[in-house]
Amino acid sequence: MDELLSLRALTRRFGERLAFVGLDLELMRGEVLGLLGANGAGKTSCLRVLSGNLAPSSGEARVCGIDLARSPLKAKRHIGYLPERPPLYPDMRVGEYLTYCARLHRIPEVRVAGAVARAMQRCGLEGAERRPLATLSKGWRQRVGIAQAIVHEPDLLLLDEPTDGLDPVQIRAVRDLIRALSAHCAIVLSSHLLPEVQAVCSRVLIMSQGRVVHEARLDVEPAAPRYRLRTAGPAPPGLVGALGAESAEVLPDGSVLVALRAGDSPAALAERVMAAGLGLAELSPERGDLEAVFFAALAGEQAA
């Protein structure tokens, strides 16, 4: 894996107001980093700085080893960026818009048509080449927005709330697309939705009031993985013994938070629940720590 993004104490202020401060980060090819936080936490400012649309107030950002502040043109060749509002020109058609974007990213003229066709195919835009951008629905506009960000096959892809405002089917399609794209590049995406980040990201930074309040990996299982268990009837006393778990805590909503012993598996747990005649209604992985940090950050944001 090679390092595609490196940030050192990256800070951005708007006059007296702090957008984000002291961001340190390394991102490798294949990683998907989620910037999670409430609205106004500094996610969009961070992505705008990384895209070169804003200059940092201090600190350093390197894309593929190239300093974004010193050699912006070289660095930007490796960056694809989808802003919060897809930067579309309503008077253009899908095909000519993507062709224009390909030329802006200095793709040699002989390769432009191929690059556009490939981006359209990856974003499910086949057959929409002649559709005017002004007539597209929100989901299609978002897809065209992603297509313009990947038309030059960037090493670093920046996506600002890529599923915002989409319906569930479109959200699933965009998530699948992000997963497919992550095989070839590093992706930074922002979201204010925890499930969104959990669904596609391998790492998460939770931001609050411009500061990183928590950093976690989502692609590795914790040492003692925890599962939320719901039985058919009320949870009986002595459950820990019956389940052979490290610990089991009955929550106020009647579900049980089970911590597995090392080497144990959720499949084995399910079998033991059935064998004990408890009746299995639900068994799902619990990411309580992340959720707790996220909501604590949200609470801090609202109190401020």
């Binding site: 951005r12 006059g15 070169g52 930007k76 802003p83 930067p87 802006l104």
Partner: protein, 242 residues
Amino acid sequence: MILTIARREWQAAFLSPLAWVLLAVNQVILAWIFLRVLEAHSGLQAAGRAASLTQELSLNLFGFAAVLALVAAPLLAVRVLSGELRDGSFELLGAAPVRLAEILLGKLLGLAGVISAAGLLPLFMALALAPIAGLDLGLILAATLGLWLTGVLFAAVALFASSLSTQPGVAAVAAYGILVLLSVLGRAGGEAVSLFEWLSWSEHLYGFLLGMVRTSDLLYFVLLTGFFLALAHRRLANRRLG
């Protein structure tokens, strides 16, 4: 890269009705002036005429076309920059490996394309008379060049004003303010009158309308256009720094 952006601006201008409406309105007004010049030259007052038909056409038709360009340039330019900054599509250019100078030159070139189309209207009207009236073609071409340079200067001023605000209405008012100021500067009195006269575009266009293509006038248009582009560049660079 400059040509890519210019082509896009040119295409956008002619895909919207704005450029066509401006051209049509220009044509109607210029045709009226054209007919009035002809009437004054060949009608009942023909005996009192003081200048040749070519000079009358140049001063009235091309002179008024410059005033129309002053009205049209801000309307065209605010969409190109202020509108893009407002609706977020400028982020596409900001994230692309393109210099700010290339973006501005591309946009100016795109606007210059529309202005060229508008500049051809008085030229074609004058040329329609050429086979029968024995016009001074050199003078007509000099006036066309002057009109085009004036239009490009107006576009550069309007681009700068457009970079000042994300509200197209505010940007247009700012552009009109600067352009009107540049128009009335030459009327200032006092010791500094020569500097103010030099800054006023009408003084320099006048030379072209009389058929004189002077290096000093050419330099004025190039320098002032460059100056306002540099201001727009500075403004956009400052937006990044915030």
